[in-house]
């Protein structure tokens, strides 16, 4: 299930090259070539395996004049589409460390 907390990275089979704000994406598996527009290129570049989708939203809200809820919905839809295309994969979230037990007197 994709959410704003999901972290994505580009799959290792994807080759990605940016020319004049647009990206060419070559999927090794299918040898398929895609051209992404500047917005999609920006989003794909944010999929660094570290930042969750909520962080993408923060970055893009600073760049585009769009309501937060609309942007977040569009980002989730786009991420889902890129996963279907084999361009993105979700990264397992880092395990949450439990707080250390309090020392007993």
């Amino acid at each position: 299930m994709i959410s704003l907390a999901t972290v994505f990275r580009r799959t290792s089979s994807v080759r990605f090259r940016v020319l004049d704000d647009e990206a060419v994406v070559l999927n090794q598996g299918s040898a398929e070539v895609l051209v992404l527009d500047p917005v999609a290129t920006r989003i794909l570049s944010l999929a660094d395996g570290v930042a969750p989708v909520s962080r993408w939203a923060q970055v893009l809200l600073a760049e585009y004049d769009v309501p937060t809820a609309v942007l977040e919905r569009d980002l989730l839809d786009f991420a889902e589409e890129l996963v279907r295309e084999g361009l993105l994969e979700s990264v397992a979230p880092a395990p949450v460390s439990e707080p250390a037990p309090e020392a007993r007197p």
Partner: protein, 315 residues
């Protein structure tokens, strides 16, 4: 279906190295871009067929001629006919099978097995059961792949394209690209009818310009479809225009972005664009060419008037 199953009786027995029984002692040298390409082990019939196919581009060499250090080497070996499956090719578009590795590429096709190895220089080997009428086509298919890999390693590319030149050669050449059925041969016929030279309606080479700021060079390859001769040497020509073609009711030009140009070039780079070990290199080479030669989209009509809007173009 795993590698080679469509064409080979025993795909598991694919030769693991460049060894076997040569067909004969003849050796030819082919004058192809970034060559020469020297192939040894041909029988008398095969050497003569290669000479017939490639004309002045194919030179006979003595059996013991040492290949120059920068030559691309090839060896030809005999394979029994029973190694190859009978394939019904009616209504079928031929595509060879490939298996890509970091230091080798294996390919299988109609009556052929071949491999390319880098150790570190590129060399090739071809196994076939044929020396008769089928041999020239088999030999050419092997050469097409070898040239594609050779050029990529040297910053160039083989492109599925129609190459059309204006004379004299210094006036340059246009490359028209598009998927199968886009109209490359139709456009070539229309161009020939109005006095242009068709280099090839199937595959042409694009190499970096000879100096900084100079346009890439179009080099004719003897790999043609229906149009373009394959037996004469031609000088490299400066690229005048790179055009993605589509048929339409009226002739028109529109710009194509750098990224769309790169995507077009990748899609039209046969053999190497499906090699996962060389896709980074391919993207690097083609990015440079896309920046040096921005493309346009040409909508052309069957009236043949599109040259009126192309002639003023220069990079």
């Amino acid at each position: 279906m795993s590698f080679g199953e469509r064409f080979l009786t025993f795909p598991d027995l694919f030769p693991a190295r460049r060894a076997g029984e040569p067909w004969g002692e003849r050796q030819v040298s082919l004058d192809l871009p970034r060559g020469p390409y020297r192939v040894a082990g041909l029988s008398d019939r095969q050497a003569e067929a290669a000479g017939e196919r490639f004309g002045a581009l194919c030179r006979e060499e003595g059996p013991h001629t040492e290949a120059a250090g920068d030559a691309v080497r090839g060896l030809l070996f005999r394979a029994p006919a029973s190694d190859f499956r009978a394939v019904d090719t009616r209504g079928w578009e031929y595509a060879m099978d490939f298996e890509h590795g970091e230091s080798s590429v294996r390919l299988a096709g109609l009556h052929l097995m071949a491999r390319l190895d880098w150790a570190p220089a590129l060399s090739g080997a071809l196994w076939t059961s044929e020396e008769g009428p089928l041999f020239p086509g088999i030999f050419e298919n092997f050469l097409r792949v070898q040239v594609a890999y050779r050029l990529l390693a040297l910053g160039g590319v083989v492109l599925h394209s129609a190459g059309i030149a204006e004379e004299p050669p210094g006036k340059g050449a246009f490359l028209f690209l598009g998927p199968s059925g886009a109209g490359k041969t139709t456009l070539s016929r229309l161009s020939e009818a109005c006095g242009r030279t068709v280099l090839s309606d199937d595959m042409n080479a694009l190499l970096p310009g000879p100096g900084p700021g100079e346009p890439p060079r179009v080099v004719k390859l003897p790999f043609t479809g229906d149009l373009g001769e394959r037996r004469e040497a031609h000088p490299p020509r400066p690229l005048r225009g790179l055009l993605r073609i589509e048929k339409g009711p009226a002739d028109a030009l529109r710009p194509l972005s750098s990224a769309a140009t790169l995507a077009l070039l990748v899609a039209c780079s046969p053999f190497v664009n499906a090699d996962p070990h060389r896709q980074d290199l391919l993207l690097g080479v083609l990015s440079g060419l896309a920046r040096a030669a921005p493309a346009r989209v040409l909508t052309f009509s069957l009236a043949g008037g599109f040259w009126d809007i192309l002639t003023p173009i220069s990079l």
